[in-house]
């Protein structure tokens, strides 16, 4: 919200310097976003009210005139002027040499076609007061020649720009801001702007217009007044200046008045050319399905039954709260004007605004919900200005249709509750001052909420906030609460996450953060078969782009992108991982969202066993000792160089998948659920004696068929080794003479240990014989001596 300071001062007076005021407003809840200076940047004394004494043709130029202009110092200036909309005697705005114009140009004594010009007569646009640059500005003749222009006209204006939070539509206007200033500074707030003019028009309003509301749910109140003898023309300079300083464009006196009312007190109003309203009848109704209207901006729009319109007997003349129809627009020839001051439902206006892609100054106020009790204030201010500025006569009477209007709540405030929630002691006087400055009225020990805050203040805690912010949030001290009686802790999920991240970093992988969102092509790039649950993506109904349409079901594909870009940037080897969530349809409203850990190794030194080593490190850290690796059947992995393990997999990428992700050379990936890495709870890990009795170590080499996996040998050894077999490790695989063709020799370390006694060599030999026998019986293995 842009608030011209001279306008603000009309409602509340203050001496506080603007930066300080801005700070104070920020600290009471209305954040100052910027402090602008509009118009003439400096040297205001060089701008004067002047009077044209003579006007003659420039001797050397058809389109220029040569004038003498009195600027009040007894030394009339010779000024060359290009405009033609004035004669001698006109009161004009003059800038003298040295003046700096709003656009930064410095004015000098200039020679125009051989004649010196000692100043400039100004147009509106040169002063940044409006769009009109066709001619110079003609000022009222009762302004004294020689006066500083700034005393009459806001040719320089400081503008405070505030951020207004969505709960405070009452602050989207100058008077509302003035109320906050009055509370922040503890200064008096002036009365509501607007004084009812005398209704001098003929007849009464009912003679001119009839109105009815067919959709009271969307329009709780509709009021209108009729003005006759309206002369549409440009607004006076002061009005243009205010409209422009507040960030809007001056258009004509009637339109500017409606905007002024909105900017001054927050009620968007609309002006209709009543002579164009068919049957002089106003019907506030829902639009018909597919009903068409061309709005003031020239856009043809198709409506539906959720859109509220202001219609005449035949067709919509405005989309309620958004914009008028082109055909009912007030134009230069308009003489009879209907001013609408209504109250429209916020949510429905917002829906229409979004549906039609039409957001206006009006809709941005309506959508937050406005006070229906603003209507009389808006009528008074609009009427006063219409009569004063357009020469109109107000027709007696007001059309004002509404049902029972909501009455604002009365809310109690306990001082002890206030102090208990904020942690600050307040005096009764402070509480009263804060609330009354904001418009609350005491009522039987409670507080009557002002109508413009009725939606926002309904509970004690809302009053607590008001007192806190106005009495000064700086007073709140900094204290520490006690913390959880059970003590702070990371919690299971975070502990597990950190363990997994730590192991992977220790294994030389760098952490990545990749997108959780996939494009629709990922399942095909991964060669996922139809029916694979990981194809059944959780899709986004309203994606922002075709690249992000669904949630990932696997983590590693995102890492493939990172691997490729890093290799492309010259990294010789890439080892990256991510711990995050995947999203799998569950049949419930919410998908399953398990945490998984995934990694990629690409470039130098990337292969199945390198990746498997990383997975083994994870398993070892989690004390998962029995996880078996089986050949995997994952469509995205190399069928001969991949394994499944627990709820995941490890392996080299399928060459087609690698190609689809632009990866050359071998790349290996792994991915598994974080939950399976949880391991036994720490309190269940109990002491075992591993130091009192020495272990007995034996190595064996067994020759088996080429098709027997090493893992199977280990299984047989474990099963047959007896209770004292503490560890089995494969340490070598040998093929070649003297091992026969089609067979291989697998060498294993065996460790036997008892926690009760020192094992004898004889016991070790006996166990070894059992193992050898089992390997022979089950796998056709022969001991290699």
């Amino acid at each position: 919200m842009r608030v011209p300071v001279s306008w603000l001062r009309e409602y509340v007076s203050f001496d506080t310097p603007l930066p300080e005021l801005g700070e104070l407003m920020s600290m009471t809840g209305t954040k100052l976003e910027a402090l602008h200076r509009r118009g003439v940047p400096r040297g205001l004394e060089l701008y004067r009210v002047g009077r044209v004494l003579t006007r003659e043709q420039h001797p050397n130029a058809d389109r220029l005139s040569l004038c003498t202009v009195d600027v009040g110092d007894g030394d009339p200036r010779q000024i060359v002027c290009g405009a033609s909309n004035f004669d001698a005697g006109a009161t004009v705005a003059v800038a003298l040499p040295g003046a700096v114009l709003p656009d930064g140009t410095e004015l000098r004594i200039a020679k125009l076609r051989g004649v010196e010009s000692h100043g400039m007569m100004l147009s509106e646009s040169e002063l940044d007061l409006g769009q009109d640059h066709a001619g110079i500005m003609l000022l009222p003749d009762d302004w004294s020649v020689g006066d500083a222009l700034i005393d009459h006209l806001a040719i320089a204006e400081d503008v405070l720009e505030f951020e207004i939070t969505s709960n405070r539509p009452d602050c989207q206007n100058v008077y509302g801001i003035a109320r906050e200033v009055s509370a922040a500074l503890d200064a008096d707030l002036g009365p509501w702007p607007g004084a009812e003019p005398e209704a001098t028009g003929s007849g009464s309003v009912e003679d001119h217009v009839t109105a009815r509301i067919d959709a009271p749910d969307l329009c709780p109140r509709w009021a209108g007044r009729v003005f006759t003898g309206v002369k549409v023309g440009p607004s006076p300079p002061w009005l243009k200046a205010r409209i422009a300083a507040a960030g809007m464009r001056p258009i004509s006196n009637v339109v500017d008045i409606t905007n002024y009312v909105m900017l001054a007190i927050g009620e968007p109003t609309h002006a209709f050319d009543l002579d164009k309203v068919a049957g002089r009848e106003i019907i506030v109704r829902r639009a018909r399905d597919s009903e068409a209207v061309t709005t003031l901006d020239g856009q043809a729009r198709t409506l539906d039954t959720d859109v509220l319109v202001i219609a005449d007997a035949e067709r919509p003349s405005a989309i309620a709260g958004l914009m008028g129809a082109e055909w009912s627009e007030v134009t230069d020839g308009t003489t009879t004007v209907l001013i609408e001051c209504a109250n429209f439902d916020g949510p429905s206006t917002q829906r229409s605004s979004i549906r039609l892609g039409l957001r206006t100054e009006g809709s941005s106020r309506w959508e937050k919900g406005l006070d229906p009790h603003l209507v009389p204030h808006a009528l008074a201010l609009a009427s006063q200005l219409m009569v004063a500025l357009t020469g109109a006569e107000l027709v007696p009477g007001t059309v004002d249709l509404h049902g029972e209007l909501p009455q604002p709540p009365v809310v109690g405030l306990r001082k002890e509750r206030l102090e208990a929630l904020i942690g600050v002691a307040y005096t009764d006087r402070e509480i009263e001052r804060a609330l009354t400055r904001l418009g609350y009225e005491p009522q039987d020990g409670r507080w009557l909420v002002p109508t413009w805050r009725a939606a926002d203040t309904t509970r004690e805690v809302d009053l607590i906030e008001e007192v806190m912010r106005i009495a000064g949030i700086e007073r709140v001290p900094a204290e520490m609460p006690g913390g959880h009686p059970g003590g702070g802790r990371l919690g299971e999920d975070e502990v597990l996450r950190r363990q997994v991240v730590g192991v992977l970093r220790g294994a030389g992988l760098t952490e990545a953060a990749t997108l959780t969102l996939w494009d629709a092509g990922v399942p095909d790039r991964l060669r996922l078969a139809s029916g694979d649950a990981r194809r059944d993506l959780v899709e986004i109904q309203n994606p922002m782009s075709a690249e992000w349409t669904a949630m990932r079901t696997l983590i590693f594909p995102g890492l493939l992108h990172s691997a490729r870009t890093n290799l492309a940037m010259g990294q010789a080897a890439v080892a990256m991982f991510e711990v995050g969530h995947v999203f799998l349809r569950s049949g419930e409203a919410l998908p399953d969202q398990p945490a998984r850990a995934a990694g990629v190794l690409a470039g130098e030194g990337a292969g199945f066993f390198e990746a498997k080593g990383v997975v083994e490190a994870l398993l070892a850290a989690a004390r998962v000792e029995t996880a078996g690796f089986e050949p995997a059947d994952e469509p995205f992995l190399h069928p001969g160089r991949s394994a499944s393990v627990l709820d995941g997999f490890v392996g080299e990428l399928h060459p087609e998948v690698a190609a689809a992700y632009g990866l050359e050379g071998t790349a290996a990936v792994f991915e598994l659920g974080v939950d399976v890495l949880r391991g036994p709870p720490r309190e269940e890990v109990l002491y075992r004696d591993v130091t009192s009795f020495p272990p007995l170590r034996q190595d064996i080499a067994v020759v088996v068929g080429e098709d027997v996996p090493a893992g199977r040998i280990v299984e047989v050894v474990r099963a047959s080794g007896g209770a004292e077999l503490a560890a089995v490790d494969v340490f070598d695989v040998y093929r070649g003479a003297p091992v026969p063709e089609g067979r291989k020799s697998v060498a294993l370390h065996l460790v036997f240990q008892s926690s009760e006694r020192t094992l004898t060599d004889a016991e070790g030999d006996a166990a070894r014989e059992r193992i050898v026998a089992a390997l022979a019986a089950e796998l056709g293995g022969e001991l290699r001596e």
């Binding site: 001290p477 204290e479 959880h484 990749t514 986004i540 949630m551 919410l590």
Partner: protein, 341 residues
């Protein structure tokens, strides 16, 4: 045989031995089986008994003397050889060591940890929450009006009419209160999603940290103290915080929180971080709106009160490490990550 002459000549030779091998040759010559001294000892038996004793003593003394000299010389030579070896066996210590693979942690993860650790120290328990959540938890139970703009399909990713990609970590507030009675000291971190067009300070996916405290006697002053502690832990011990009244649907009163600028103090030039204001906005917070307690059991706003706060991990990381564009955090360029891990 002149034993004394033999000993003095042999001693001179031993002491002159240049290395262990030469010494060994000399030892064999003077003390080996064929050495005259040893031969003479062997021949003692052939001497008459009255000479045998004196001659034996003389020869044994000579042998022990020579053995002593050999040992001494051997030690000396070994010591010299070791010294020589240590003197010549040198490496270029400026050559690189044998490399072990090193992984780096991502800056988002680091920052997230640093922040969570602060709150663990303050007595909070860290929990996790779902990234896809019900509208009930993301909006309804957080007191968002049915028409609240952030519910719009232009702002929020919808999976179904009642399911969204969470737009903040605040749903975990309700889930935590549902899970058990007060007191609650909860912190959570995780990914959130908004339909923001990416720019230097926004990404459609981002990481948030949320805190919730509900206990007897919790005040706005407690919120301020907590955030002051957080700001000092993360941005430096000199920091101050300032609360500014603001509006959020799920807190009342609500505040925005500024931390005193940490950049100005660094170099004194016109500050690009705080734009000369001296304060940098870092998070939103407030006292838990009593309406929230109506969505869970066991929380009576007359008995307990609470505060909540939420902050962007990427923003904190960006401010701490002077990163001009938070999109860099999501590019996974190892050259970038390696600067921080």
């Amino acid at each position: 045989m002149d034993v004394d002459a033999l000993v003095s000549e042999a001693t001179a030779r031993i002491e002159a031995a240049r290395d262990v091998a030469a010494l060994e040759e000399i030892r064999i010559e003077v003390l080996g089986r064929k050495a005259p001294l040893v031969q003479a000892l062997r021949e003692l038996a052939s001497l008459p008994p009255d000479e045998r004793r004196a001659r034996g003593d003389e020869l044994n003394r000579a042998r022990r003397s020579l053995e002593g000299v050999v040992d001494e010389r051997a030690r000396e030579l070994r010591r010299r050889e070791l010294e020589e070896r240590l003197r010549t066996d040198r490496v270029d210590v400026t050559l690189p060591g044998v490399r072990h693979p090193r992984g780096y942690s991502h800056l988002i993860e680091q920052t997230r940890r640093d922040i969570l650790d602060v709150f663990v120290g303050f007595g909070y328990v860290v929990v996790d929450g779902p990234e896809i959540d019900l509208v009930h938890y993301n909006f309804d139970a957080l007191n968002h009006a049915p028409t609240h703009p952030s519910r719009q399909v232009t702002d929020t990713f919808y999976i179904a009419d009642d399911v969204v990609l969470r737009t903040h970590t605040s749903p975990v507030q309700i889930r935590t209160m549902e899970a058990g009675p007060p007191p609650v000291y909860m912190a959570t971190a995780g990914r959130c999603y908004r339909r923001d067009t990416p720019d230097a300070t926004h990404t459609a996916m981002f990481t948030q940290i949320e805190g919730l405290v509900v206990d007897r006697g919790i005040t706005l002053a407690h919120l301020k103290g907590t955030l002051l502690g957080f700001a000092r832990a993360i941005f430096g011990a000199e920091r101050e915080v300032r609360l500014r009244p603001h509006f959020f649907p799920f807190t009342e009163p609500s505040v925005e929180v500024d931390v005193s600028c940490f950049n100005c103090a660094r170099d004194g030039s016109p500050c690009r971080v705080c734009k000369g204001e001296g304060w940098v906005e870092i998070l939103g917070a407030g006292m838990v709106d009593p309406n929230l307690y109506g969505y869970v059991d066991g929380y009576d706003p007359e008995e307990v009160s609470g505060f909540a706060f939420g902050l962007g991990v990427e923003r904190v990381a960006g401010l701490r490490h002077d990163i001009p564009d938070i999109r860099l955090l999501w590019e996974n360029d190892l050259r970038f990550t390696g600067q921080f891990g």
